[in-house]
Amino acid sequence: MAGTSPVRPFWPVLAILALAAFLPFRVSGYVLGLLTLAYYFGVFAMAWDLLFGFANEVNFGTTFLIGVGAYSAGILDNRYGLPIWACIAAGTAIAVIGGLILALPALRVSGPYFGLTTLVAVLLLQNFVVIFSGVTGGEIGLVVPDVITTDAAGNYWIALALLAASGVILTTLSRSAVGLILQASGQDRIQAAALGFNVTRHKLVAFSVSALFSGLAGSFMVFYMGTASIGTLIDITIGVQIIIAAVLGGRRTIIGAAFGAIFLIGLTEILRPIGEVATFIVSAVALVVVILAPNGLTGMVARKAPP
């Protein structure tokens, strides 16, 4: 659709993707590993951005959906030895169901209640994992016997492919007719209804799509890392970092969220040698951005472009 929200032209993004695909030939396995994680993180951030930016519902519990998908996939492999693709598919499906279950109470409320509901969901999942530690591995974590591949480049390309595919699908969705309806539903519920749209159903769809990508990327990530644990998947700090990534990159731009994620992971890594203070600094930077520049990096870029 021509003339929609300020968006990076198509060609530079394609160029960047092509460049990224060639990185494994030039760069060390360590950097590849970092970028692999960053790409998965990017999918999480884009999924969040879809939900927040277009349905105007903040989802603190993307972490919930990631956790549900990842643990489902991991448990299916760990206990039942299903083939990897089946585990991933099942993990994704269960995440979508989880999203709908979460949406039911969450969509009946708005504002702070909604945010709290999603936060509570994350807590519940954490406790659930700890309580049923026989199945989930509890606080120690779950070991997943199979991984997709041990080759750094292979994992990298898989993550990059997922990022690219998610980016394309989510961006297309957000700029399609359905995306327009979603935007309207989020901005003004009554107006959207007065124009004949079933707002609740559309918000459920937004929830489900976000859940699908969160669960999918989460499941993939489990088979990349070979483990699943609360600290890496169902931590509130991770949920916050996802939001920061999307905000940093520019809300409602989808692609911006991916860039924000890569930036954030990169920044954390660069500061790692400093030691414990690194987390402190990254959080501080994030806090300052949230307070002073809520439109993020693309927001700052977009301001220079005409409206």
Partner: protein, 492 residues
Amino acid sequence: MSTGLPPLLSVCGLTKRFGGLTAVNKVDFALWPGEILGLIGPNGSGKSTLVKLLMGIEQPSDGSIRFDGAEIAGLSTHLVARRGIGIVFQHSRPLERQTVIETILLGLLPDSLFHLSISAEHRARARAIAEKVGLGAVLDRRPSTLSFADLRRLELAKALARDPKVLLIDEPFAGLTASECAEFSALFREQRSQGKAILLVDHNVRTVAALVDRVIALCLGERIAEGKPVDVMRNEAVRRVYLGGAIEASPRNGSGGAGAAPLLELRDVGVRYGKALAVDQANLTVGENEFVSLVGINGAGKTSLFNAITGFVPYSGEILWRGQPVKGLSAVRVARLGISHCPETRELFGDMSVRENLDLGGQRRSKAESDDRLDWMFELFPILKSRQKQNASTLSGGEQQMLAIARALMTDPQLLILDEPTLGLAPIILEQLSKALDALRQTGKVGVLLGEQNVTFALPHADRIHVMDRGRMTWQGSPDRFVHEAGAKYLL
């Protein structure tokens, strides 16, 4: 209009209760295709609630709404919309991130989850609709760059995109220039000639008399008159609502206020809300201990003017308090200057008792002073004394108004600004309020600026009258002159 054909929309015994308040009370009316029905009433009459009931935004407590042969009362909004009822909201609610053409396209899209692309046919139709309402030149612009009139045109375009059989239009003319009003009226007439049924909501008959075929008048949720515009304008009940009865000047004693040192001066004050000009070049003075009444219908701009004076909204022009400019002072500072504002919404502390509300008013004084004033308030409003331990939210409308005024007076102000105190109150309460205002005036200690639609209430105590219409001060003078000159003309 109707000749044996069944009505397109038929409302019977429609009622809506919010807790103890009945906003719409057994309202009946019918709407035929190819006509424009005017729905008029002052603020608080229930017209907005009625429109929301028709559109499914609120659910009725009782009664039926039949549309095109089927019962639709209780359906949710999107279902009502899909059956063929459209609404143009009173306040523009554009989608900030969408361009004009995208917004109109939204109205053309089906409610489907799988519709991904937008067809060329849709685009062409969207363009046509935009051209029709006059937005052809701004198709790719976003709402933040549009003028007020264009935003209103966009609202209309959105509704027209759905090609509804019934169009509910809520106060379309507020904020528009005369030529823009004519343009919109022509569009409405065109829709009528195409067989649409239109319900046009407005504050008073005069603005819509030339446009509508029939009028229904509401007051306090009930239908008080129905008929041709000219008949409704002459209807006794309607005149009473708008004018408060026969207009007469009551004898006043006390100083005329002329020559008194000016307390409050407004010079060319203007207030804008985004694009809408709510107040334009207002000039007003209130002298020490003077009682000035500002009369005008709801939407004339009185509230905006008061909000500017008390520091709640920014304004252009000058406002002087005792000769000193007060622009830029926060609302708290303005209140501390000695200006006490009692707004239309009263802003009481509902879960606190009457006594606690009053005590809060007196907080900034010493306990002794506060208690003294409290005694005086109980003299002015004896009913408050007997209800002092009751929670404010459990009081009747009239009692709440008295509490609001008493609380404002507890701050020991030099100027009391009263915004529409009689709104929604029964006549007997008005008498009590009037007596209290009289007693207040006799003390000669407080200046009063009263904003009212009810002229009969506003006249008796006033030293001077100002008339406000669509944001402009159109007349000022003594109450006697008002009766002779402006009188009935300005309202109906």
